[in-house]
Amino acid sequence: MWDYSETVQEHFFNPRNAGAVEAANGVGEVGSLSCGDALRLTLKVDPETETILEAGFQTFGCGSAIASSSALTEIIKGMTLSEALKVSNQDIADYLDGLPPEKMHCSVMGREALQAAVANYRGEEWKDDHEEGALICKCFAIDAVMIEETIRANGLRSVEAVTNYTKAGGGCSSCHEGIEEILGRVLAEQGEQLVINAVAAEARQPRTGLTNLQRIRRIEELLDEIRPNLQRDHGDVELVEVDGRHIYVKMTGACSGCQMAATTLGGIQQHLAEGLSEFILVLPAEELACRATVGG
């Protein structure tokens, strides 16, 4: 079952202003095709001051649709029309202490009913300019239409770019398959192909905030700091390779073949880890050769 706030439940079980207002002079009727909900909002507006004296709703819809309608009528009562038109769907959701992402469209329907009712009062025709698609990102309530339009408008080519532009996919990341699908379709229309990085981008970059080059320089500096200790024992250390968290070094001079080499490596590892503020592994260069042979 949905995770409805106390306020949503309260407005559902005890809806305010239910039913049509007598002698209404502004009526808005809207529906959301995506879930089949529909709402009629009736307003009684004072023609002198354009103040909303009474508001009533009739809703065919789920718990949050009814709660959103009830909240809307409570918010706008006593407002002037121009004040009321500034009420956003987020205001309705906030009034209810939030709505589940799947249910945000209920508040959108409320705002649209209000616009339609005001247009009706003013003798204008209200046109809906909002298209709603299937919900893709549940963390940030972003739908397919929004994602597709943003991809087209900005020539996006990766899931990461879609996340940067729309927030979609920036949370739990379970919708990345859905985003890739939309990307693939749009790119295919343009005769392009989606290039995919199967591994999460962050795992490829150490989290130090350093570029690769800066990081390697830093490792060299850190090694230089402990070099005098090794040279005192007629040994030395040489940096051979840096592969993400794996740092390969070669022990030279007296250190090479020394029985204390493992202990020394441990000391170097600790020094580097502290200096870089990240978790790393210091490995002897011979390991690198082993890895190359097994192809790992």
Binding site: M1, F12, F13, P15, A18, G19, E29, V30, G31, S32, L33, S34, C35, G36, D37, A38, L39, R40, F57, Q58, T59, F60, G61, C62, G63, S64, A65, I66, E102, K103, H105, V108, M109, E112, A116, W126, D128, H130, E131, E132, A134, L135
Partner: protein, 403 residues
Amino acid sequence: MDKGIYLDNNATTMVAPEVVEAMLPYFTEQFGNPSSLHQFGNQVGRALKVARKQVQALLGAEHDSEIIFTSCGTESDSTAILSALKAQPERREIITSVVEHPAILTLCQYLEKDGYTVHYLKVDKRGRLDLQEYARLLSDQVAVVSIMWANNESGTLFPVEEMAEMARAAGVMFHTDAVQAVGKLPINLQESCIDMLSLSGHKLHAPKGIGVLYLRRGVRFRPLLRGGHQERGRRAGTENAASIVALGKACEMAGEALAYEERVVRSMRDRLEQGIIEQVSHCFVTGDPENRLPNTCNIAFEFIEGEAILLLLNKMGIAASSGSACTSGSLEPSHVMRAMDIPFTAAHGSVRFSFSRYNTMEEVERVIAAMPLIVQRLRKLSPYWNGDAPADEPGQEFAPTYA
């Protein structure tokens, strides 16, 4: 409020107390790995053997080796379909129906992306298939037919035994997702032409996380999970021993309760349906009332929405479910209701009551008493309703602008 009235047994069932009792020792003293040689494993291995026999008996399977334990109904469904495709690579078509469970439909849609052709059999307004259309589609291009035995939402039964015979005659493999049927209807697989069948433990008073794929001896098979020798190499992975023992016990009990299900559970369902329809105007039973599970009743209440009904029922301690868009999390109204061409003002108000042998007639009367007030309360809020009748000509009276 007391413990509440649970009428959502097609979603999941209570684990029977006897089943809990049977499985508990397999968490504690009987913890061994059934593959082990020593006494700890040995006894567990014997218990699994008994459970396999119990499942075999409920399904009427010819051999106990035709029972493969899996983790759930979905795994059984995926294993069956993917095996059929892998075992017959030259066949690139699948036949299924538009009202299958997502365990089948989502997989089929995914396979379409891989180039397979999926034929979705349509249903009529009562949820019935057109067998002539089916017969036309059977060919040597079809790798597998997958048709559910009973629909989870409406309870409507499909003639799977007949369809399996037709498939056999055309040389096509036949799978049925029978998670809603097993334990509610007598099943005798050895007399049928069904090649594969999926069942799920938690639908028949066993715990969640255990399922079965029935695989007829001799049907070409390719495992989904490869690894150890468990389930004769057809489903690798250490056995969920406690749950297998539980499922065995649950199958034994279900077999004994079949007559009760048919007589008593059916009469409770019928009483609920009749009681509601008599008192509430503008509602109707969906699906094929003459041909459905004894425990399932799906009523569409016009001009109101299912989630709102469920929330009010829940407040009174009554648990049911709905085909409304808003209860599914997907925003899509139930594909089953849409497939039956039910008007959306009714499809959104469809409520499913599903019974088990643990319900009572006293509970039924309480639901019958509660329902009219709930419907009345929501219709008062509905723009499609006026006083105590639908607003004249609903479509014309209330005509919202759709986004």
